[in-house]
Symmetry: C2
DNA sequence: TAGTGGTCTAGACCACCGG
DNA sequence: CGGTGGTCTAGACCACTAT
């Protein structure tokens, strides 16, 4: 026997994955139930369960009670992104971090912001515009709205020492986070702040967070020219 | 007793998460070992393990044998993206899908492509430029390179029925996938193909895939104006 | 309502790695 | 080398949902 006596869940996963990718189970096909696979592979059901959990996480199969395990009908590319605090991002790239507060005002959320939060009624909010710097050069321009109902203590901060980005990430854990990526053309105001030409194509990251259903913050982060976002290594 | 006798791993996870977020364990702090937590919460160690696995996946803690479990020193926003086959994406939005082959040629990979694949030696490749359409309007412009060493059978396809995107996703499962997002300004050629004005800001998705260490394909997908990428719901 | 995945338990051994 | 997380087992019961 060249086979080890004990199968690891990764062995089970790889065997199932190979079976699927080889075409033995096409899109939408139903796999045997866990117990049968366990039996056939001579391992415990929990081991198959662990393997299936991994395949399910990676998007290759879908599992339902009573419905069984099926090969996902439409394959997708699934990727994971890590977006660090901007200060850390700059420092990790070897830059010296700085930030400037550009504007700060209290006012009710406009419709665009209400829509991001999926709110139906207006809410008092703090709007903070700030510029993150790397080695003194513009790095990211933030236009942020913070719910004063959810974060009343934010009124007492002036964001001169610590950016709103950093304070919120460290002090306001969120339960839900929506991200949105797209490109915009710099208008004259944005261009001036990012020290680039009007019309330059800029990559934008919008992030909205909630705790339970209460809105925390929504931020439009306009990155400086040349910025790229990569998937987690 | 209002407490249920049995704790689910989600209960355990939530309790640990709350303890961390409340500041009881700061960044870098070491948590008790699984066995002690299990003891303290009156559940099996495997239940704590399951909870910790989730916290580790979500990026809140880091676990090491012998080193124990520690709160991740630098918090990150971790998100998952699903990128479907372009045809499916168009159809799911209610559009009618179409695609046009623009150019197809065999040649060695240029340096830019070799760099994407982390190759040191040039390799014969098939370059395919194609336009994906939604209701007859430009949707995504693809500039794709496919390794002929890894995918020799691609020579026999003409991509009139099925796009290279779809054929590859269905027939060439990858082991590794790198993604890169950024913005570009449309040059006159791109602008013409996407039927927009020169200088328009466009969102770009670059994707490179390998099987083991063998390159499969790298594609620069230039999206039409207004395109947005969202995190998985 | 019956079949299937989801989870919990208690115990055991292993693999990694910090001191 | 010893402490810690990683995994496997065998069995049991629960929860969801397709039929």
């Amino acid at each position: 026997m060249t086979q080890p006596q004990r199968l690891s869940w990764k062995d089970v996963r790889d065997e199932i994955q190979t079976a699927i990718l080889s075409g033995r189970y096409g899109p939408g096909a139903r796999l045997p139930r866990d117990a049968d696979i366990a039996d056939h592979m001579n391992c415990a059901r929990a081991t198959v369960q662990r393997a299936m959990q991994d395949l399910s996480d990676s998007g290759l199969v879908e599992r339902r009670r009573k419905g069984g395990t099926r090969v996902r009908p439409e394959p997708v590319t699934r990727a994971t992104l890590d977006i660090p605090i901007t200060r850390r991002e700059v420092e990790q790239k070897g830059g010296r971090y700085g930030h400037q507060l550009i504007r700060r005002q209290e006012r009710d959320a406009p419709r665009r912001v209400m829509a991001s939060f999926e709110l139906t009624a207006a809410q008092p909010m703090l709007r903070v515009e700030a510029l993150h710097l790397s080695d003194g050069r513009p790095y990211i321009l933030e236009d942020r709205w913070i719910s004063l109902e959810t974060c009343p203590e934010i009124r007492d901060l002036d964001f001169s020492e610590q950016s709103a980005n950093e304070w919120l990430v460290l002090n306001k854990p969120y339960g839900r986070c929506d991200l949105r990526f797209y490109a915009i053309s710099a208008d004259s105001q944005v261009a001036a702040l990012l020290q680039t030409a009007k019309g330059t194509a800029l990559f934008v990251i919008e992030r909205t967070t909630w705790i339970e259903t209460a809105p925390i913050t929504t931020v439009k982060a306009i990155t400086a020219p040349g910025y790229q976002l990569l998937t987690r290594s």
